[in-house]
C-alpha cells in the first residue's frame, strides 16, 4: 500500500486527467488542485527532506526520496526553477480533475465505497490532509525560506478545506494525492518496484447499473461498458487518433488486467483487434508500431495496461476505414476520438463506409493535454522531457533529462507537416501565436523532388551523410570571412541553397548534400521563428514536438544550438520522447472524459 502510493503515480494521474473539464457541480473541490497536492505531497520529500514534519507520510518517503535524489542530480544541470514559479502554476492550474472524478462516484451507489479502489482512496484520504501538512516544508525548497511565508499558508489550507468539503458533501474521500511526478523520474527501479498495483483493480467488480428504459443499442453499449470494468468507463477498445496531413498517429490502450471472465466475455473482434495490434509491430505495408515508445504498466481510467503508439501515412486512411468496415468495428459501439485535420476530412467516410461516428477534437487542445499527461506519467520510469547540454559544443553536447514540473509558460512548437507555435500559460490557457508552412512536409516534399527519395527515413538517412555547406552560401563565401560589421561568423549560412545559383555547383552536388541542406534550412527557419516568438511572448522555454523530430537528431541538436546561440543562452530548447503522439494521446484522454460526461 505504501509503496503503491509512490510507485503508482501514473494511474491516478490518469484518472484525474480523465475527469478534466467536468461541469461546475464540483466547484467545491476546485480549491484542491492537483498541483498543490503534488507539491504538498512530493515537494517536501523531493526538495528538502530535512524539512519534512513528522506527519509526512512514510509512504512517500522511499520513492519520493529516490526521486529527490534524481532531481537533486538534475538540478545541478538545470537552471534552478524559481520557487515563485510554483505559485504561478498553482494560480493558473485548472480545477482538480481527480476530485471531479471522485465526486461522481456516489451516483453509482453506496456499496462502491467498499471497492478496493475506494479502499485505496480511503487510504489516500488519510494521506490527503496529512499530505497537506508537509507543505510548509515547501518553503524550504531550494533553501529559500523567504518564500515559505507567502506560499506555505495558502497551500495546505486549501487542500485541507477541500478534503473536508469532500467529506462533508458526499461522504467521499478527497482525491488521492497525486504522487510526485518526480517519482516516475526516479531510478527505473522505483517504477518497476510497483507490482502491488495489480491487486487493486476495482474493475473486477463491475457495478451493474439498471438500464431500464433504454433502447437496445444503448443497453448493449451499457453492457459493454460494464465489460470494460465499470460504469463511467468507455467500452474497449480504447483508441486515440490524430489524423495529420502526412501521418496518422494512433494510440491504443491494451488492457493487461483482463480477467479470465472478462476475456471470456470479450467479443471476438475486440479480441482480434487486441491480438492483431499487440502481436505485430508492422501493419500492412505502411503501418508501424513504435515499440520503443510503448508505455508499460500504465493505469488509465482505472484500468492497467500498455499504451501503444502506432503510425501510418495519412494516404492509407481510406484503407484503414475500409478495414474498420470489414472488421465490423462499429459493432463494438466504441467511440472513436480523433483529432487533427483528418478527423474532419474523414468524418463522413468513417460514418458512411465504416458506420463509425468520430468524436472530433481540437488538435491543439489534444496536443497540450496529451503532452502534459505523457510527461506526468513519465516514460516507463524514465523522464519524458529532455534537453541538450552544451548545445553549442558538438563534442560535449549530450542529451539530459529535464523536469517539466513547472512547464508554464512554455512556447510549444509542434512540427508536423506544417508548424504551429503555441504559447501555453496553463493547462487550458494557451494561444496559437503563429505557424509556418515550412515544416516536416516541406522537408520531405523538397527532398523527394531533389533526391528522388520516397520516405522520411530515407531522406533523413541521406541528410545524415550530407554536407549542407556545399549547397548553402555561407557568410564567408560572400565576405571572405566573418561579416564583422554585423558580428556574423563566416560559417553562418547567408543563403540557403545559395550556391545552387551556380550551374557548375548544381551539376556537382550530391543528393546527400541536398537532403542535408533541406533539413538544415527547414530546421533553422523553424528555430528562427520560434526564437522570435519566444522573444515577443517573453517566454524562455521552447518545447519542440512533432514527428518532424522523429529519429531526427540533426534537427534537434540544431534547434538546441540555435536557441542557445542566438539568445546567448537565454532560451532553452526542450524535447519530448513521444514527440509526435501527443495529439493522439490527448484524443484518448478525451474519450475518458466524454464517457465520464455521459
Amino acid at each position: 500500500m505504501l509503496k503503491l502510493v509512490g510507485g503508482g503515480g501514473g494511474q491516478h494521474w490518469a484518472c484525474s486527467v480523465a475527469g478534466t473539464g467536468l461541469g461546475g457541480k464540483e466547484a467545491a473541490f476546485e480549491v484542491a488542485r492537483p498541483g498543490d497536492q503534488r507539491e504538498a505531497g512530493c515537494g517536501g520529500p523531493g526538495w528538502g527532506s530535512s524539512g519534512i514534519p513528522d506527519s509526512a507520510p512514510g509512504a512517500g518517503m522511499l520513492p519520493a526520496g529516490a526521486a529527490g535524489r534524481a532531481r537533486g542530480g538534475q538540478s545541478t544541470e538545470e537552471r534552478g526553477e524559481p520557487v515563485g514559479e510554483g505559485e504561478e502554476r498553482r494560480a493558473r492550474h485548472p480545477p482538480a480533475p481527480a476530485l471531479r472524478l471522485l465526486n461522481r462516484k456516489p451516483q453509482g451507489g453506496s456499496e462502491e465505497i467498499k471497492t478496493p479502489e475506494n479502499d485505496l482512496q480511503r487510504g489516500r484520504l488519510n494521506r490527503g490532509p496529512r499530505a497537506a501538512a508537509p507543505a510548509p516544508g515547501m518553503g524550504d525548497r531550494g533553501g529559500r525560506p523567504e518564500h515559505s511565508a507567502t506560499h506555505a499558508p495558502g497551500a495546505p489550507a486549501d487542500t485541507g478545506a477541500a478534503a473536508v468539503n469532500g467529506l462533508l458533501h458526499n461522504g467521499f474521500h478527497p482525491p488521492p494525492v497525486q504522487p510526485p511526478r518526480l517519482c516516475n523520474r526516479g531510478p527505473a527501479g522505483s517504477g518497476e518496484a510497483a507490482p502491488p498495483r495489480l491487486p487493486l483493480l476495482p474493475e473486477l467488480q463491475p457495478q451493474p447499473p439498471p438500464p431500464q428504459h433504454d433502447s437496445p443499442a444503448k443497453k448493449c453499449r451499457l453492457r459493454r461498458r460494464m465489460d470494460s470494468g465499470r460504469k463511467n468507463r468507455p467500452p474497449f477498445p480504447w483508441f486515440g487518433m490524430d489524423i495529420g496531413g502526412t501521418l496518422v498517429k494512433l494510440v491504443y490502450f491494451e488492457p493487461k488486467d483482463i480477467t479470465a471472465e472478462e476475456e471470456q466475455e470479450e467479443v471476438e473482434n475486440l479480441k482480434s483487434i487486441r491480438k492483431y495490434l499487440t502481436s505485430n509491430t508492422a501493419y500492412g505495408k505502411t503501418g508501424i508500431r513504435d515499440v520503443h515508445l510503448e508505455l508499460k504498466n500504465l493505469t488509465m481510467c482505472g484500468r492497467k495496461g500498455n499504451l501503444h503508439f502506432i503510425r501510418f501515412p495519412s494516404c492509407a486512411m481510406h484503407r484503414f476505414i475500409q478495414m474498420g468496415s470489414e472488421k465490423n468495428f462499429s459493432s463494438l459501439h466504441t467511440t472513436l476520438c480523433a483529432t487533427g485535420g483528418g478527423a474532419f476530412k474523414f468524418e463522413k467516410d468513417f460514418r458512411m463506409i465504416a458506420d463509425l461516428q468520430l468524436h472530433k477534437l481540437d488538435e491543439l487542445d489534444c496536443l497540450i493535454q496529451g503532452l502534459l499527461y505523457v510527461d506526468s506519467v513519465g516514460f516507463n520510469g524514465k523522464p519524458e522531457c529532455y534537453y541538450f547540454e552544451n548545445p553549442t559544443n558538438p563534442e560535449l553536447c549530450q542529451k539530459k533529462p529535464y523536469c517539466l514540473d513547472n512547464p508554464y509558460p512554455m512556447l510549444l512548437v509542434n512540427m508536423g507537416s506544417g508548424v504551429s507555435i503555441l504559447a501555453v500559460y496553463s493547462k487550458d490557457n494557451y494561444k496559437r501565436v503563429t505557424g509556418t508552412s515550412l515544416g516536416g512536409g516541406t522537408f520531405l516534399g523538397l527532398c523527394c523532388l531533389l533526391t528522388g527519395c520516397e520516405t522520411f527515413e530515407e531522406a533523413l538517412e541521406m541528410a545524415a551523410k550530407g554536407d549542407s555547406t556545399n549547397v548553402d552560401k555561407l557568410v564567408k563565401d560572400i565576405y571572405g570571412g566573418d561579416y564583422e560589421r554585423f558580428g556574423l561568423q563566416g560559417s553562418a549560412v547567408a543563403s540557403s541553397f545559395g550556391n545552387m545559383m551556380s550551374k557548375e555547383k548544381r551539376d556537382s552536388i550530391s543528393k546527400e548534400d541536398l537532403a542535408r541542406a533541406t533539413l538544415v534550412t527547414i530546421t533553422n527557419n523553424i528555430g528562427s521563428i520560434a526564437r522570435m516568438c519566444a522573444l515577443n511572448e517573453n517566454i524562455d522555454r521552447v518545447v519542440f514536438v512533432g514527428n518532424f523530430l522523429r529519429i531526427n537528431m540533426v534537427s534537434m541538436k540544431l534547434l538546441a544550438y540555435a536557441m542557445d546561440f542566438w539568445s546567448k543562452g537565454q532560451l532553452k530548447a526542450l524535447f519530448l520522447e513521444h514527440e509526435g503522439y501527443f495529439g493522439a494521446v490527448g484524443a484518448l484522454l478525451e474519450l475518458f472524459k466524454m464517457t465520464d460526461d455521459q
Binding site: S437, M500, N525, M532
Partner: protein, 773 residues
C-alpha cells in the same frame, strides 16, 4: 554634350559588347566631367554612380542702368536677358547587367577625362570578384565599402530627397503602386534587404543602425532551389514560371488536411499548411510552374513572417523591402505584401522603393563623397534623365524593355540650396501638395496627358522662338519633343513611373526635358516684353485704385490679382488668345473674369477680415510675369504694406513657363520702387522682402521650399499666406491646411478643370481660410 549623347551610335559603341543595344553615350552621360565614382556589383546587376558637373544654359536677367533715362520711353525692354553657361552638379546612376561590366569599364576608361579621380568606392558582393578588373581597367584604387552601411545611407538619401520614393504595392488596384508622401521624419524604420539571404536592419538615425536579424532563406534560396527543381537557370525566368503556376498543386493546404473549406485554428482553408507538402507523394509529376510558384510563396511568406516578428519586437510599423528578390518584380512585391498583411493583420506596412536598386551605389558614392558633405544639400530627381519605375521590368513593360535594353538610369540634380518644410504647414507629415492624384483618377489622367501632348507643338515652337540666334535650336527642340513625348507615352502606360502622377509632375517633367536640351527659359523674351508693358501701366493702375473708396478698392485689388492671373502662357485657352490678340490687356482680362459670386467665393469673409487689425506679415507666392505680378500682385502688396503688414514676396528660383522668377522680381520691384514711394520705402525698410522659393516648377510643394524662405517666415512671424495661380493654388495646395490664415486664388483657365469643379472657363477661385482655433 547632351546633343552628343543623343547623336546615336558613335564610334565609341564599337568598343562595347555587341549585345548592348543602346549607344553607351546615352547611358554614361556627362562622363567627361565625371569626378567621383562608386560601384555596386550585385549578383547580376552592376550599379555605377558618378558625380559630374553639367554645363547648361541659363537665362540671366540684368537690369539696365536706368539712371538718367526716361522710364516711360517706348519699346524699351525693362531689363536685359542673356543666356549664360552655368555649371551644376549632378549625380548619375547607371544600372546594367554584370555581363556588360567589362565593356562598360572600357567605355568609361576611354571617356574619362578628369585626372583627379584616384579611387572608386565599391560595394556589393561582386565588388570582391571584380576588384582586379576594375583596378586594371580604370586605373583606380578600389575602396571597398560595407554593403549594409551603403545600403542604409542610400536608403536615407532617397527617402529624404525623392518625394514619392516609397510605395505600397496593392495587387488589385489600378495602378498597383501607391506612393507615400515623404514623412518629415523618416526614422526609425526597418529595412529588410532580400539579397541571396535576408538582412533585417533597424535604422534609428542617419548614422545609427543595427542588424537585428536575418534569414538564410532569401533570393538565393529561390534562385538556387528553383534552379534545382525546374532546371531553369535565370532568376527572371524562374519568376516568370512562378507567375504562371498554381501553388496548390504542390502545397498542402489547410483544406487538404481538413477537407473542404473547413475553417480551423482560425485559418482559412486555402492557406498553406505545408509548403511542398504534396510533393512527398511519389508517383506524381509536378510542373515547373507550380513548383516555382510554391517556392515563391514559401520564401515570400517566410520573409514576411520574420519581418513582422522583428517589426513587432522593435515596435516599428514601417518596413522597407529591398534587394534583388524585390527589385522591380511585381510578383515578389505582391507575395511579400500579402505575407506582411497576413502575419501583421494589417499593422505593419510593407513599403518598397522606386530606386531600391541604386541604394548601394548611392550609399557607396556618399561614403566616398563625405568630405563634400553631400548630405547638406538637397537633391532632386531629374525626370528627364531618369528611367521610370519598372522601365526594365519585362512583366510590366515588354516594349519598354526592348527599347532600353537592360539599362536603367537615375539622375539627381544638386539643388542650389537646401529645401525644407514651410513652417506654417499644419501637419507636415500629412501634407500632400497635389490636389488630384492622376494615378488614381483615370479620366483626369487621360485628359491631362492628352492636354500635354496637344500643347507640345506650341512648347516646341516657343522653345525655338526663344533662341533665334541658335543654329541648332530647331534640332534640339525636336529632340525635346521626342523626349517629352516619350515620357508622356511611358506615363500613359505606367502612370506610376515617376511616383504619383500629377499635373505638377507632368509640368516638372516638361521643364526638366526643356533644360535637358538647353532651353532653360523659353519664355524669357515673352516675360521681358510683358514685364515692360505692364510696368508702363503700373502708375495708371495705381492711380485708378487710389481714386476708389476703401471697400471698392479692396474688391478692385482682388479682381486685379485675378485678372493678372489670366495671363498664363501655360494655359492653352489663354495662350491662344495671347497669340492671336497682341492687344489683349489687363482690362480685357478683367472682362473675361466670372462675375461674383465666384465659383469659390469667400470674399465677404476676407473683406470682413480686412476691416479688422492688419496682419503682421504676409507671405505671397507669385505666379506669372508681366501683368500678373506687376498689375495684380504689386498693387495688392502695396495695399498690405499701407495697412502696416510686412510682405514676403516669394518667386521661383528658376524659370518655369512664364512664371516670374526671383531674379526678374528683383528688377521688377526695383522698377516699381522707382515709380512708387510706398514700394520704395518698404523695400528700403525691409518691410517688403523678395525671396526665392527654391523651386523651378509652375506648381508649389510647400514641403520643399528654400530654407532661407522658411527662416524669413519664422523671423517675421508670417500670419497670412497668399497663394496665387492655377498651378500653385488649384493643381497643388488647394487642400493644403496651414496654421495661419490663407488666401488661395486662381482663375480656372482650363475648361475641363472648370467643368470638373462645377464652373466654366475663367471661373474664379477665391478661397480664404482661417485655421480652426
Amino acid at each position: 554634350m547632351a546633343e552628343c549623347g543623343a547623336s546615336g551610335s558613335g564610334s565609341s559603341g564599337d568598343s562595347l559588347d555587341k549585345s548592348i543595344t543602346l549607344p553607351p553615350d546615352e547611358i554614361f552621360r556627362n562622363l567627361e566631367n565625371a569626378k567621383r565614382f562608386a560601384i555596386d556589383i550585385g549578383g547580376s546587376l552592376t550599379k555605377l554612380a558618378y558625380y559630374s558637373t553639367v554645363q547648361h544654359k541659363v537665362a540671366r536677367v540684368r537690369s539696365f542702368d536706368y539712371s538718367g533715362k526716361d522710364a516711360e520711353q517706348d519699346h524699351e525692354p525693362p531689363y536685359e536677358v542673356s543666356v549664360q553657361e552655368e555649371v551644376t552638379a549632378r549625380l548619375h546612376f547607371v544600372k546594367f547587367e554584370n555581363t556588360y561590366i567589362e565593356a562598360c569599364l572600357d567605355f568609361i576608361k576611354d571617356h574619362l577625362v578628369s585626372t583627379e579621380t584616384k579611387v572608386i568606392q565599391a560595394t556589393g558582393g561582386g565588388a570582391y570578384r571584380f576588384k582586379d578588373l576594375i583596378e586594371e581597367k580604370l586605373q583606380l584604387r578600389v575602396d571597398k565599402e560595407d554593403v549594409m552601411t551603403c545600403l542604409i545611407k542610400g536608403c536615407n538619401f532617397v527617402l529624404k530627397n525623392i518625394p514619392h520614393e516609397a510605395f505600397v504595392y496593392q495587387k488589385d488596384s489600378d495602378p498597383e503602386f501607391r506612393f507615400q508622401t515623404n514623412h518629415p521624419n523618416i526614422f526609425p524604420y526597418l529595412l529588410v534587404n532580400i539579397g541571396s539571404g535576408v538582412s533585417i536592419v533597424k535604422v534609428e538615425t542617419e548614422d545609427r543602425f543595427e542588424w537585428v536579424g536575418g534569414s538564410s532563406i532569401g533570393g538565393g534560396t529561390f534562385w538556387g532551389l528553383g534552379a534545382l527543381l525546374t532546371k531553369t537557370k535565370k532568376f527572371d525566368e524562374l519568376l516568370h514560371l512562378a507567375s504562371k503556376g498554381q501553388h496548390r498543386n504542390v502545397d498542402m493546404l489547410v483544406q487538404d488536411i481538413y477537407g473542404g473549406a473547413h475553417q480551423t485554428l482560425g485559418l482559412g482553408g486555402s492557406l498553406i499548411a505545408s509548403s511542398f507538402g504534396k510533393s512527398a507523394m511519389a508517383d506524381r509529376e509536378f510542373s515547373k510552374e507550380d513548383m516555382a510558384k510554391s517556392l515563391l510563396h514559401m520564401i515570400s511568406n517566410d520573409i514576411g513572417q520574420l519581418a513582422c516578428l522583428y517589426a513587432r519586437l522593435h515596435g516599428l510599423d514601417r518596413v522597407y523591402f529591398g534587394g534583388f528578390f524585390i527589385r522591380g518584380h511585381p510578383v515578389t512585391m505582391r507575395t511579400i505584401t500579402y505575407s506582411i498583411n497576413f502575419f501583421s493583420k494589417g499593422e505593419v506596412q510593407a513599403l518598397f522603393l522606386r530606386h531600391e536598386g541604386y541604394l548601394g551605389a548611392i550609399g557607396a558614392f556618399l561614403k566616398g563623397a563625405e568630405q563634400d558633405n553631400p548630405n547638406q544639400y538637397s537633391w532632386g530627381e531629374n525626370y528627364a534623365g531618369s528611367s521610370g519605375l519598372m522601365s526594365s521590368s519585362p512583366e510590366l513593360c515588354p516594349t519598354q524593355r526592348a527599347r532600353s535594353g537592360t539599362f536603367d538610369l537615375l539622375e539627381m540634380d544638386r539643388l542650389e540650396r537646401p529645401l525644407v518644410n514651410l513652417p506654417l504647414l499644419l501637419d507636415p507629415s500629412s501634407y500632400v501638395p497635389d490636389t488630384v492624384d492622376l494615378t488614381d483618377d483615370a479620366p483626369a489622367r487621360k485628359y491631362w496627358l492628352t492636354c500635354f501632348e496637344e500643347a507640345l507643338d506650341g512648347v516646341v515652337k516657343r522653345a525655338v522662338a526663344s533662341q533665334p540666334g541658335s543654329a541648332d535650336a530647331a534640332e534640339r527642340a525636336e529632340k525635346f519633343r521626342q523626349k517629352y513625348w516619350g515620357k508622356l507615352q511611358t506615363l500613359r502606360h505606367q502612370p506610376f513611373a515617376y511616383g504619383t502622377l500629377t499635373v505638377r509632375s507632368l509640368l516638372d517633367t516638361r521643364e526638366h526635358c526643356l533644360n535637358e536640351f538647353n532651353f532653360p527659359d523659353p519664355y524669357s523674351k515673352v516675360k521681358q516684353k510683358e514685364n515692360g508693358v505692364a510696368l508702363k501701366c503700373f502708375p495708371r493702375v495705381i492711380r485708378c485704385l487710389d481714386a476708389l473708396g476703401w471697400e471698392e478698392r479692396q474688391l478692385a485689388l482682388v479682381k486685379g490679382l485675378l485678372a493678372g492671373n489670366v495671363f498664363d502662357w501655360g494655359a492653352k485657352a489663354v495662350s491662344d488668345v495671347l497669340e492671336s490678340d497682341p492687344q489683349f490687356g489687363f482690362e480685357e482680362a478683367k472682362m473675361k473674369l466670372q462675375e461674383r459670386p465666384w465659383l469659390v467665393d469667400s470674399y465677404s469673409k476676407w473683406l470682413q477680415r480686412l476691416k479688422g487689425p492688419p496682419h503682421k506679415c504676409a507671405l505671397i507666392f507669385a505666379d506669372n510675369s508681366g501683368v500678373d505680378v506687376i498689375l495684380g500682385v504689386f498693387p495688392f502688396v502695396r495695399e498690405l504694406l499701407s495697412r502696416g503688414t510686412e510682405v514676403i514676396l516669394a518667386c521661383n528660383s528658376g524659370p518655369a513657363l512664364n512664371d516670374v522668377t526671383y531674379c526678374e522680381s528683383l528688377i521688377v520691384a526695383e522698377r516699381i520702387a522707382a515709380m512708387d514711394p510706398v514700394i520704395h520705402s518698404a523695400l528700403r525698410e525691409e518691410r517688403l522682402l523678395l525671396t526665392q522659393t527654391g523651386s523651378s516648377s509652375p506648381c508649389l510643394d510647400l514641403s520643399r521650399l528654400d530654407k532661407g524662405l522658411a527662416v524669413l517666415v519664422r523671423e517675421r512671424g508670417a500670419d497670412l499666406v497668399v497663394i496665387e495661380g492655377m498651378g500653385r493654388a488649384v493643381h497643388t495646395n488647394y487642400h493644403a491646411a496651414l496654421r495661419c490664415e490663407s488666401l488661395k486664388l486662381a482663375v480656372i483657365k482650363n475648361s475641363w478643370l472648370a467643368e470638373r469643379l462645377g464652373g466654366r472657363l475663367f471661373s474664379v477661385i477665391f478661397k480664404y481660410e482661417v485655421p480652426a482655433k
